[in-house]
Symmetry: C2
Subunit: 196 residues, 2 copies
Amino acid sequence: MARPQAFERDQVLTDAMRLFWRQGYNATSIKDLTEATHLQPGSLYAAFKNKRNLFIQSLNHYFNDLHTSVVSLLHSNRPPLQRIHDFFAYLLEQTDRDTESKGCLLVNTLLEIPTDDKEINQRVSNMLQTVEKEFCRVLEEAQLKGDLAPTFKPDELARMLITGIFGLRVYKRMQPDRQAMQAVVNNLLSVLDNTR
Amino acid sequence: MARPQAFERDQVLTDAMRLFWRQGYNATSIKDLTEATHLQPGSLYAAFKNKRNLFIQSLNHYFNDLHTSVVSLLHSNRPPLQRIHDFFAYLLEQTDRDTESKGCLLVNTLLEIPTDDKEINQRVSNMLQTVEKEFCRVLEEAQLKGDLAPTFKPDELARMLITGIFGLRVYKRMQPDRQAMQAVVNNLLSVLDNTR
DNA sequence: TCCATTATTGAATGATCGTTCAATAATACT
DNA sequence: AGTATTATTGAACGATCATTCAATAATGGA
């Protein structure tokens, strides 16, 4: 016995997320958000408490999508090292389609939000560490199969690859051509071929 | 025959730069800047036109310092590949001392400023490309001396190392311990050891 | 059909934003 | 000493910020 909600929470979060992704947290105003979501300020605040909380929900929404992609790529039935290559191929494709150079919302957030905002930094760090762990498991699997030299430490390699991805996300802002990005990936992945 | 300027332009730029570095462009207000520089708004605007221009001057100031460090490290009299290692050792030290996790102002700016701000993006990109070229020249020198396999393309390697630095700058925000960062650097630099 | 409950509206709030400018102060030259 | 010139001050401006809330609308159950 009450008036029903007229909007879909998921759709609103998608709209908000896209805006934060394109403009960053500080540069996105409530006015921007009301226009993008077609919700009035009051509704936005009733549903999401405030701007900061809406942002956090947007981050969660982004990570859900990201995690789905990562899992489907890294848990496929292809050989482990091939799956790593698949991931980077996917990253390059996505980077290519991203004509606005938005990059990764999590990486952008990590650099924009002040260090002393423990909550947001912790949340984003955890999300990225989750991805790092997925990488690590695949590398362990490769090592077990003998596709990766036993002298490697999978956790260190995973960390290095994740760092490489972060770097690519930044490098893209310099508007390099696809070939340049591809060459970086090739050199990065050449570490895995090392027999030591 | 006029009243002399009471402040040192360089000191003011240093103060402003530190603030932009710590907080980012959008999160830094004129009030913040007047407090940090001890200049009133009017003086600030008389000397630097507006906030945006003050930021651009701060970027230049930052790059001057950066370029000095890079040159002294990469043009030393040590063997070329050793100079690359020196650079990363310096980077790790600096990262360690940076308890606020400010990272690199240029990298932060590249991610914060919208893509459609051509001027700032172009300026920052040029600065970073300058560093990349310094790396490239050292790698060419190493190749000439036979310290680097001739199959490598120095420009691609330089790009990969720069990307690695960007990545480390981001990774640092996740508050990793020094060992973790060191391992990333080791794995990154292991590419150079490849004999192909 | 009426009512209790919740959703939506959008104007209003006070704070803060970047920027301007008239008033005042400090200097060098005559 | 007087004056032309430039530097400094800091209050004031309009715009915009995030947030609130009283008024209104829409529903399901009685």
